[in-house]
């Protein structure tokens, strides 16, 4: 019996992982178990239930946004069922729990997975390494814990069988690990857009001199119908875009139709998160900046002169 356990803090991403699970096993899957953390009414059960999931494991007591509580739920199920595959989203929660679960299972693990292949009973995962300079193919032994980048697999669709076919199992709380206590928790201010899903992303870099100047990036994004993202220093060091994620190896990966990188030098750690953009436009005053060589269209100009002109042309053109 080959079984997979799937968890994502985000219900939509769960569907992607269900597809990934069937690719990982080359179709030879006997059943997918989906862990739903938090209260799960009829509504929340309906969609996954129609996709051929075998069991929906409901852990009402678990908070899907709390990595420690998710870890506890996953461990409880793994201890009981010892699945062959555990599929997670490669976000901070997924990366936090992946290592421990793999060691618990005594198996292989890969994070930041971008592709899967299964042949002759062996599983090969693809992931980006060497700061984006290499794509590694790694053969992973089962049991395997795989943390998969968002947006890499299509969401699983409803199968022919009528909804409600999945068995619902209630998972009991095994009790908290008292060695770890969350003593304070507050929501971060969020910008609300998911850069991973945006079709057009304007990325702001250190070329912007003042926080107020980001107005230009937002105006451009509005004119293009897209979202604003940033490089790590703007988010993490300067805190200019609270609640936003940065793009790159240690942040999120984007795959928009169009990325406009403004005042971004294009260091590898950044580019690794943007390589899947279909078209890359760079605006930089330095013709030797690495981003110029990595773009489809590069405008060598001062952003303070060029962006207002570009915004005007785009608005006028409508």
């Amino acid at each position: 019996m080959t079984r997979a356990l799937v968890f994502s803090p985000d219900d939509d991403r769960c569907l992607e992982l269900i597809s990934a699970a069937s690719v990982a096993t080359g179709g030879g899957l006997d059943g997918v178990d989906l862990l739903l953390a938090g209260p799960a009414g009829e509504e929340r059960l309906r969609t996954p239930s129609s996709t051929g999931v075998g069991r929906i494991v409901v852990a009402e007591w678990s908070d899907p946004t709390d990595a420690f509580s998710v870890d506890r739920a996953l461990r409880a199920w793994i201890g009981r069922e010892r699945p062959d595959y555990v599929l997670l989203t490669s976000d901070r929660i997924g990366r936090q729990v992946a290592g421990g679960l793999a060691q618990l299972l005594g198996g292989g693990a890969s994070t930041e997975v971008v592709g899967l292949e299964s042949a002759g009973g062996s599983l090969t995962v693809k992931r980006m390494v060497l700061g984006g300079k290499g794509i590694a193919s790694e053969e992973v032994d089962t049991p395997a814990v795989l943390a998969i980048q968002p947006g890499r697999f299509p969401p699983a669709e409803a199968s022919g069988t009528a909804g409600g076919a999945a068995e619902v199992v209630r998972l009991e709380d095994p009790g908290a690990d008292h060695r770890v206590r969350i003593v304070e928790r507050r929501p971060r201010e969020r910008s609300g857009v998911r850069l991973e899903d945006a079709e057009v992303v304007v990325v702001a870099g250190r070329g912007f001199e003042r926080r107020e100047d980001l107005r230009l990036a937002f105006e451009l994004a509005e004119a293009l119908g897209g979202a604003v993202g940033a490089t790590r220093p703007l988010v993490a060091d300067l805190g200019w875009l609270p609640g936003s994620d940065w793009i790159g190896i240690s942040g999120v990966r984007i795959s928009p139709r169009l990325m406009v990188a403004v005042g971004v030098s294009g260091q590898m750690q950044f580019l690794a998160g943007a390589l899947d953009s279909k078209v890359i436009v760079a605006v930089n005053k330095d013709p030797n900046a690495p981003i110029v060589g990595a773009s489809d269209y590069a405008v060598v100009a001062d952003l303070y002169e060029f962006l207002p002109a570009l915004i005007e042309v785009l608005r006028g053109g409508r």
Binding site: R92, L130, S250, V279, V292
Partner: protein, 266 residues
């Protein structure tokens, strides 16, 4: 407090030559201490400065050829010792080259046990060359200790616990964790100090211990390896590379918009 800092010799990806469709020349590229691991060392040293104790750095060599990497490892060790670590333990063994994260964690656990006890293990949240972030979590499991990753701040209180400030998903958290524990840090937690000439000279006198797997009583990764890298190729990035030059910003903007319209992206 006795703190262990995990230090990986990561490939220096900046200097790596990569031809699209071919394997990057990893053997020719130098290695250096992974950037974020320096943040872990800095945090360990500053904790010792605040509350006393010791700092031991641990490293398992993952990249070959060993002959060449040993020299680089000694340089790396010197830098870490110059930053203030008291000693450096290097696990170097042909059999550990290319080992997966599970084996690396097991080797680290064995080394930590052999040279411990420790109250706290600090690591970087990921390394520059692979950014898998798996080793600290695996190590915590191996040791049976709690694991708190992504620390943007670590505060040492009394009573055998520390407080970690971190951000995960949509939340900012302060987590209190009992010691011993494994914590991974982000680049934002501190600014690693640059050692002075005197500190580097004194580092030459601090102990650097080289251990093999058999010193640790470990067999090679052998059949139990969880992950084998079968190939690495550089991605083919086909970018058009059009540089738009124009007399005025306005003209450049018009040309860009025209190009993007023609390409069908807007």
């Amino acid at each position: 407090m006795d703190v262990a800092a995990l230090v990986k010799l990561a490939l220096d990806v900046e200097g790596l030559r990569a031809e699209p469709g071919e394997a990057p020349r990893v053997d020719q590229a130098p290695t250096k201490v992974s950037e974020i691991d320096l943040n872990a060392v800095e945090e360990a040293v500053s904790i010792r400065e605040r509350v006393g104790g010791s700092v031991t750095a641990f490293s398992v060599l993952n990249w070959g050829p060993l002959s060449r990497r040993m020299r680089e490892a000694r340089e790396a060790a010197k830098r870490v010792l110059a930053m203030g670590a008291d000693r450096f333990v290097l696990v170097a063994d042909e059999a550990a080259v290319g080992a997966d994260t599970g084996f690396t964690a097991a080797a680290l656990a064995a080394a930590l046990r052999a040279r411990g006890p420790f109250d706290l293990v600090l690591a970087g949240e990921g390394t520059e060359d692979s950014f898998g972030g798996l080793v600290p979590g695996r190590l915590a499991q191996e040791l049976g200790w709690p694991y708190v990753p992504y620390a943007d701040g670590v505060e040492v209180g009394g009573g055998g616990s520390v407080r970690v400030r971190r951000a995960v998903g949509d939340f900012e958290e302060v987590v209190e964790v009992d010691l011993p524990a494994v914590i991974s840090v982000t680049q934002e937690i501190n600014k690693p100090r640059i050692p002075t000439l005197m500190q580097i000279l004194q580092a030459g006198k601090k102990p650097l211990e080289v251990l093999s797997l058999s010193d640790l009583g470990l067999p090679g990764p052998g059949a139990g390896r969880g992950v084998r890298v079968s190939s690495v190729v550089s991605p083919r990035v086909e970018r058009r590379g059009v540089v738009i030059e124009a007399e005025s910003p306005r003209e450049a903007a018009e040309r860009l918009v025209e190009e993007l319209r023609r390409a069908g992206v807007i």
